[in-house]
């Protein structure tokens, strides 16, 4: 899980049975004391592997939306919730956005990649060796190096951590105000990895293609989804072009518009053998 704190922006991404939406009220409280007012909110997630294990308010998307609606101030009057479908019913993308009247989408895009059925040999690299006395930090550094994660953005400042007995999280700081993050649950049967990065619509779009290719090759998943939140259509149209040479075929693509967020495009891919 990851937390990014900017002067006027905060991003929290958590997995497991965490109760993420319970952070909203305390965050608003602390922000108010700093003289800051909330102007937009975006909540996203995929379909849970174990939905029945999720605690309230994450039991259903409907409950999550109610919780969001009740937690957010009334100045965030432009609100929208949507479940974006795919051809696989177990892979949907859940999006809620809210903003005030003045908030406009920025020039940054967000790429959220969810990968399942990871290559077993590659996933094994995210297990600590029995008897290994390494700490989470040192084991994390070793995994970053051994798996090729460190080569995705060679210039990034990386903060990595390996969990005991398995699992891995990494935050990367790239080009000043840009971040990337990777989280891995390598256990066979429910293996999962996520990759997320931000970029600008003014960037060279070949950069995102190269980064996406490198990230996916670390895990070689059988199934993956890519959600692109962006005001420009230049980014999402490059995604399939990046993944198809790796043997991943685009099976579905859904698009929706959200106030103050721009377009959200949700694409799913599976290996050609599936």
């Amino acid at each position: 899980s990851s937390l990014f704190v900017y002067p006027t922006k905060i991003i929290i991404k958590t997995c497991g049975t965490t109760q993420l939406l319970k952070s909203i009220r305390p965050l608003l409280h602390y922000a108010r004391h700093l003289g800051l007012t909330l102007c937009s909110c975006r909540y996203t997630r995929g379909s849970f592997i174990f939905p029945k294990a999720q605690p309230f308010p994450h039991t259903t998307f409907k409950e999550e939306v109610i919780c969001l609606e009740e937690s957010l101030p009334t100045n965030l009057c432009r609100r929208k919730a949507s479940v974006m479908p795919s051809k696989t019913p177990s892979h949907s993308w859940h999006v809620f956005t809210a903003s005030d009247d003045a908030h406009l989408p920025g020039v940054l895009y967000t790429l959220e990649v969810c990968m399942t059925e990871l290559d077993r040999v590659l996933a094994r690299k995210f297990f600590q060796r029995p008897g290994d006395e390494k700490t989470g930090d040192t084991a994390g550094k070793e995994m970053t190096q051994l798996t090729g994660i460190g080569d995705i953005n060679p210039g990034a400042l990386i903060c990595d951590f390996a969990f005991d007995p398995c699992g891995y999280s990494m935050n990367g700081i790239i080009d000043g105000d840009r971040y990337s993050t990777i989280h891995v649950t390598p256990e066979d049967g429910y293996s999962y990895a996520s990759f997320e990065c931000v970029g600008s619509i003014y960037d060279d779009h070949d950069d995102v293609v190269q980064i996406l290719k490198k990230a996916v090759q670390v895990f070689r998943p059988a199934t993956m989804s890519v959600s692109t939140t962006c005001t420009s259509h230049e980014v999402w149209t490059r995604v399939a072009g990046a993944l198809e040479p790796l043997g991943l075929k685009c099976r579905s693509c859904a698009m929706d518009e959200f106030p103050a967020a721009g377009s959200v495009v949700f694409q799913t891919f599976t290996t050609r053998r599936k």
């Binding site: 899980s1 990851s2 937390l3 990014f4 704190v5 900017y6 002067p7 006027t8 922006k9 905060i10 991003i11 929290i12 991404k13 958590t14 997995c15 497991g16 049975t17 965490t18 993420l20 952070s23 305390p26 965050l27 602390y30 922000a31 700093l34 003289g35 800051l36 007012t37 909330l38 102007c39 937009s40 909110c41 975006r42 909540y43 997630r45 995929g46 592997i49 174990f50 029945k52 294990a53 908030h103 967000t110 969810c114 989470g136 930090d137 994390g140 903060c159 990595d160 951590f161 999280s169 990494m170 700081i173 000043g176 105000d177 971040y179 989280h183 049967g189 429910y190 996520s194 997320e196």
Partner: protein, 64 residues
């Protein structure tokens, strides 16, 4: 947790703020002390396990 599985799929929340005082917004939320962040994370049921930052933002790796 169901069966023996660990839920990998993340929930992601992004909040944007504005302020009228440029002196405040220059550092803004980064002025929050670690104890306050820990209280927020306590509500989520996470803790900080590692951290890094630069002049633009702070990045924390969390438990879970």
């Amino acid at each position: 947790m169901a069966v023996s599985g660990f839920e990998g799929f993340e929930k992601r929340l992004e909040l944007h703020f504005f302020g009228d005082d440029p002196a405040v917004t220059e550092m803004g939320l980064r002025q929050l002390d670690f104890e306050s962040l820990e209280q927020v994370l306590h509500a989520v049921q996470c803790t900080v396990v590692s951290a890094v930052g630069n002049s633009y933002f702070d990045a924390y790796v969390l438990s879970e």
